[in-house]
Symmetry: C2
Subunit: 349 residues, 2 copies
Amino acid sequence: MPPDIPEFILPAIRAMKGYQPGEQPQGATSIIKLNTNENPYPPSPRVFEAVQYVLTGDRLRKYPDPNGWNFRQAAGKVLGVDPACIVIGNGSDEILSMAVRAIVPEGGVVVAPTPSYILYHTLAQIQGAQLKELPFEPDWSLDPRKLQGIGHLTLLPNPNSPTGTFIQPDKLKDWPTPLILDEAYADFAVGNGLHLVEQNPHIIVTRTFSKAYSLAGIRFGYAIAHPTVADQFYKVKDSYNCDVLALAAATAAITDQIYLHETRNKILTTRSRLEQELARLGFNVIPSQANFVWCQHPKKFEKRIYEELKSRGILIRYFHYPNWGNGLRISVGTDAEIDQLLDQLRTIT
Amino acid sequence: MPPDIPEFILPAIRAMKGYQPGEQPQGATSIIKLNTNENPYPPSPRVFEAVQYVLTGDRLRKYPDPNGWNFRQAAGKVLGVDPACIVIGNGSDEILSMAVRAIVPEGGVVVAPTPSYILYHTLAQIQGAQLKELPFEPDWSLDPRKLQGIGHLTLLPNPNSPTGTFIQPDKLKDWPTPLILDEAYADFAVGNGLHLVEQNPHIIVTRTFSKAYSLAGIRFGYAIAHPTVADQFYKVKDSYNCDVLALAAATAAITDQIYLHETRNKILTTRSRLEQELARLGFNVIPSQANFVWCQHPKKFEKRIYEELKSRGILIRYFHYPNWGNGLRISVGTDAEIDQLLDQLRTIT
C-alpha cells in the first residue's frame, strides 16, 4: 500500500488499484476505435430532435425529474413492464454500483464468472467485499453449484464480455439469488432474461443505452426489478443521477425501435463477416451474441497484434486474465472499418 | 421495517426512508419555483454553443473522457489550482457520495451541523453509518469541540442550507479532519475555503454547477482535494460518471466568469430586497450568504404559509427539524417572481 495515502481513506480503497476503462482518445482523431464496444452508427435522429427541444426550453437551469417518469413510461410500453419496475441510472455501471451498495455488506462476497467484466472486481473492492470467480466451463457454460451459497450477490453478464457467449435464460431459473443479469449486450443476442424478473423477484436485469442505442456519450442505463426491489435502489441512488438531456435522449431512443432494429441488423451482418474472416486468418473465434468478437491467436501473439494495430491507428482491446489466458476483443465497426482492420491483420499475422 | 422487502437487501437500506428532494413539477407549468435554489437566469450563452458543437460531432455514440481533462484544465486555470486536484462529479451530491464511500466504514460516524442539508443523513445511512448532529449555536457559529474525535468524516456546508449562514474559513483551520467543505453556495458568499485545501490535505472542498452556473439540469459538480486524495476518489467514482454534454457545458460555463458575476450580482441585489421585505412583513430573517433566504414566522405559521403559497402556484420549501423548529427557505428568483411572492405573502400573513 503506498505510504502517502492519508489514513482516513478506508484500507480497502487504499489497497485497490481502480478500474482501467479502455482508451478513449479525445478530440479530432483518425483512429479506428474498436476497443470499447461503441456503436459505429449514430443514435436515432429522434435523439437529436429531443435534445434540441430541451435546449430551446428553460430546462438546463432546473433540476431534472429525479424519478424519470417520462422515460419509465416510454420504456415500460416498449418492454411490456410496469414503469414501477424500472430504475434509471447514469449508465448501467451506476445501476451495478447501486446494487452492490444495497445488497453486499462490508466483508461480503460477490460472485461473477471469469473471464468477464473486470469492473465487477472494482465494485466489490469499493464495497470492501471480495469477488469470487466462477470459471466458465470449456463449452462456455457455467456451473453455479460450484459457488452455491457463498455469495451475497451474483453478477452475470449475458451475453458475456469479453467472450460474447450467451447462456439461455431458461438455464438461469435455478441459479442462486440475488442474481443480476447484466444485459448490456442483450440487444445483439437471440434472447434475454426479462421474463425471469417477473417469475422471481430476486432476479434483476440491467440494460444500457451505450451499445445498441449508440448513446455511450450520454450515460444512461436502467434496471428492471420487482417494484419493492426497485424502491430500495431509488433509496440508494443520487436523487438527480440522470440529467435532463440524457433522460430526453434515452426516451427518444427507446421509442424508435425501427431504427434500433436497422442498426442492429447491420451490426449483426458485419459481425458475421468479421467472425468468418478472423477464422480464415487462423484465429480461434467464439461465435458472438454481442457487438464484438473475441478471438485468440493459436501462437499466442495477442499482445503483439494489439500493439501493432495500435501503432497503425486501430484500437482493439487486449485482455489478460490471470490463470486463464489472453485474448483480443474487437468491437464490430462499420464495414469500412472492419475492412481496414482485416487488411492490417493480413499483414501482421 | 416493512416485511415485504426481500432479505437480501442490507438491513440499513431496508430501514432507511430515502432522501426526499424538493418538488420538481415537470412539463409546461406556470408555477413560480422558489423551492430548490435554482438560478432564475439561464446559463451562459457559451453553454448552448458548446453543447451544439458536441451535437454536430460524432460524440454521443462514444464514451466521454473518464478523466474530464478539458474541464479540469479550464477549472484549474480559473481557480488557480493544479488540475490534478480536481475530481469531476455527476453533481456535487455524487462527490459527497464518493467521499462517504472512500472514507466512512460500515458502522462509522459522519458529523454534520444541524439544521442543515438532510441528504447528509441519507448518505450516512446508505453507508451503514450514523450521523451525529453538531448543533448551531444561537449566534450561528459552530463549536466542533462538542463532537471532537468521534467522526470519521465531517461535512460542513458553507454557506449552510437552509439557513444561508456562513462561517469565516479562517475559523475552520483547527476543525477535526477529514473535513469536507460543501461549497455549493460559495459563489454567493463573501469568501470560500479553497486556500485551506492547500494548507491541509485532509480538507476537501466541493462545488456545484447547479446554483451560480445555472446548470442544475445538466448534473455537474467537482471537488478540490490534495492530488493523493483526488486519486482515491477517482478509484471510487464510476469511470464514465460525467457525460459528454455535461462536460462540455461545465467547461464552457466556468470559462465565462463575466456572465457568472453579472447573474450573481443580480441575485445578490434581489436577495437583499427579499430580506428587507420579509423583515417588514414580520418574519425573522437571517442575513443570507447564499441564493436563498431562510425565515421564520413569529407566530410559527410556516407550514400554513407554505401550503397557502403552493395553492396559489408559488413553491417554496418548508423544513421541520426535530428538536429545533420550523422555517421557510425561499430561493431568490427574478425580481418579478419575488414581487409576486411578496404580493401573496402580504395577503397571507
